[in-house]
């Protein structure tokens, strides 16, 4: 069936949801199975409209839940098609069981995860609880800090995930509302250029290839389960990082926009630095520039690839920094904070002596203001001058009531 191409301006004013939906349209997906949930609803709603308006050739399957949405994606991917969907928060929680099926079956599926808090209390706004919840599910995880990056990383994710040496599903995170519902200028690619970058889908071990029958979703028990999981991890650690770099490089050649697994901003001569994810990275960059005018050599590290976690790149990025703050946008649930723990782990067997402190912030969409970040950089400078963390290791930013600090 013929479908129409869409004329786009070089710069379109799109929010993160629309940017993701447009990239999905341009990738010419065979099957999208989806169930709506705030704040990711406009992605699948927008995609369904493209379908209704004849801009999409593939199938759009409306299902009864997120569990069914990901199950549909697993079935379609195993059958041999390009597959994607979107969700948030509770929807991801319901999907979680099937996420492990998808990665264990080595099915390349692209999932737009618009980050939102997990209930209770019920909250539709952004934090990274859902991203962290599936951190060990065996999916590649990219993080977009803006609508432009949500668009770009969608195109990149298909390439990485579907590579025959990879065959691992990929999540593209973006901040609920702060990216998903914030319209900004997005540099677009034409439909042809975007599709040529993603490339034609090449099936592998597809169930509809009757000449070469295969089994999917097997039971293995003690005899083989461990080997399968070990191989999955091995490929995440040894194949995926190089493939991501390769696709990032190709994307830069095409667009001039350069992505890195760890995004460094003013880090070369910095004394103090903030490590964070999502839109906070961009706000922190703006504040870091302002701190330099006040004599504090501030830098920012943004985590672009959360899984596989870039241990060596992080250690390299902060090795000469005197004081580093790691920001976690998720209730730590009795621990130090996921990102804090990852970065501690990446530094442990090095000789580095960095004053490392952790901060919990922004839960349920609580604003991270520039004023918060100014205070934070000043606190880091005091740590840098003292050569140690002067506060408790874990603090909270922007929560009402008495100051909270632990560890």
């Amino acid at each position: 069936m013929a479908f129409d191409k869409m004329e786009l301006k070089d710069i379109e004013v799109w929010d993160g949801n629309h940017a993701a939906a447009q990239a999905m349209r341009q990738a010419q997906i065979d099957v999208v199975a989806a169930y709506p949930i705030t704040p990711s609803t406009p992605i699948v709603e927008g995609y369904a409209k493209f379908k209704a308006d004849n801009y999409v050739e593939g199938e759009f399957v409306m299902v009864e839940s997120e569990h069914a949405a990901m199950s549909g994606c697993v079935g379609a991917a195993a059958a041999g098609g390009r597959v994607a969907t979107a969700t948030s928060s509770q929807g991801l929680a319901l999907m979680a069981e099937v996420l492990y099926q998808a990665s264990g079956m080595r099915l390349p599926i692209v999932l737009n995860l618009v980050n939102r808090a997990l209930a209770a209390p019920l909250n539709v706004n952004g934090d990274h609880s859902d991203m962290y919840m599936v951190r060990d599910s065996g999916w590649i995880q990219f993080d977009a800090f803006s609508p432009q990056e949500a668009y770009d990383l969608n195109l990149i994710a298909f390439r990485v995930s579907e590579d025959h040496d990879v065959r691992i599903p990929a999540i593209i995170n973006q901040d609920g509302f702060i990216t998903s519902h914030t319209a900004q200028g997005v540099h677009t690619l034409s439909d042809d250029v975007a599709y040529n970058f993603v490339g034609e889908y090449k099936p592998m071990n597809d169930m509809l290839d009757f000449e070469n029958p295969v089994t999917h979703g097997v039971q293995t028990e003690e005899d083989w389960h461990f080997e399968h999981k070990a191989r999955q991890h091995n490929d995440m650690m040894t194949i995926v990082p190089g493939k991501i770099e390769e696709v990032f490089a190709d994307f830069e050649k095409l667009t001039g926009r350069k992505y890195n697994k760890v995004e460094c901003y003013d880090m070369n001569d910095a004394d103090v630095a903030v490590v964070c994810m999502g839109t906070s990275v961009e706000t922190a960059r703006e504040v870091a520039t302002e701190m330099r005018a006040k004599g504090i050599k501030a830098g920012v590290v943004g985590i672009r690839v959360f899984r596989p976690f870039p241990f060596f790149e992080i250690a390299e990025a902060i090795k000469d920094i005197k004081a580093v703050a790691v920001l976690d946008r998720c209730a730590p649930g009795g621990a130090a904070g996921t990102l804090f723990n990852e970065i501690s782990g990446s530094l442990y067997n090095t000789d580095l002596k960095i004053a490392l402190s952790g901060y919990i912030y922004g839960l349920g969409g609580r604003d991270l203001t520039k004023a918060h970040l100014v205070d934070l950089f000043n606190e880091l400078q005091a740590n840098a001058d003292a050569g140690k963390v002067l506060t408790q290791q874990q603090q909270f930013i922007g929560v009402r009531g008495p100051k909270l600090a632990y560890l």
Partner: protein, 185 residues
Amino acid sequence: MLEIRWHSRAGQGAVTGAKGLADVISTTGKHVQAFAFYGSAKRGAPMTAYNRVDDSVIMNHEKYMEPDFVFVIDPALALTTDVTVDGKDTTKYIITTHMSTEELIKAQPKLEGKEVYTLDCIAIANETIGRPIPNTPMLGAFMKISEMYDIEFFKESMQRVLAKLPQKIVDANMVAIQRAYDEVK
């Protein structure tokens, strides 16, 4: 950096208005941001929307804003909420009301000493578009007060932004924008 805060009720088109304005400004080479606080996301609930405009890429994603302009597109909100919160000495207020500017300031003392402009976007929208959607009239008033663009250029741009609507509705919006431009004071 130019910053605008919209006060609206969900369903009155503040988000569409903010995104439409961002779209127009983006075509002139500036960088834009348009976003909103949805709160409980129920139709009729008070909400705020925001625009940022700058010559370079906008990296600031904080919700906190000390606006240069405050748009109030629902007539009750100037009275029942504090639309001057986080305002600066130089903040300009464009407020939808059936009252005169003097009457409004008398009814809401927080506006005393502020640079306040008024017009009745609801009446204009009802009489032109046929529905109380006050977003495009507010933008017409903004063009007058800010002198950001020539009104003819702005109307041409808005025709493109609204192109997916029936021509009759687009034409009615153009009349609404022009009337607001002429009537704000």
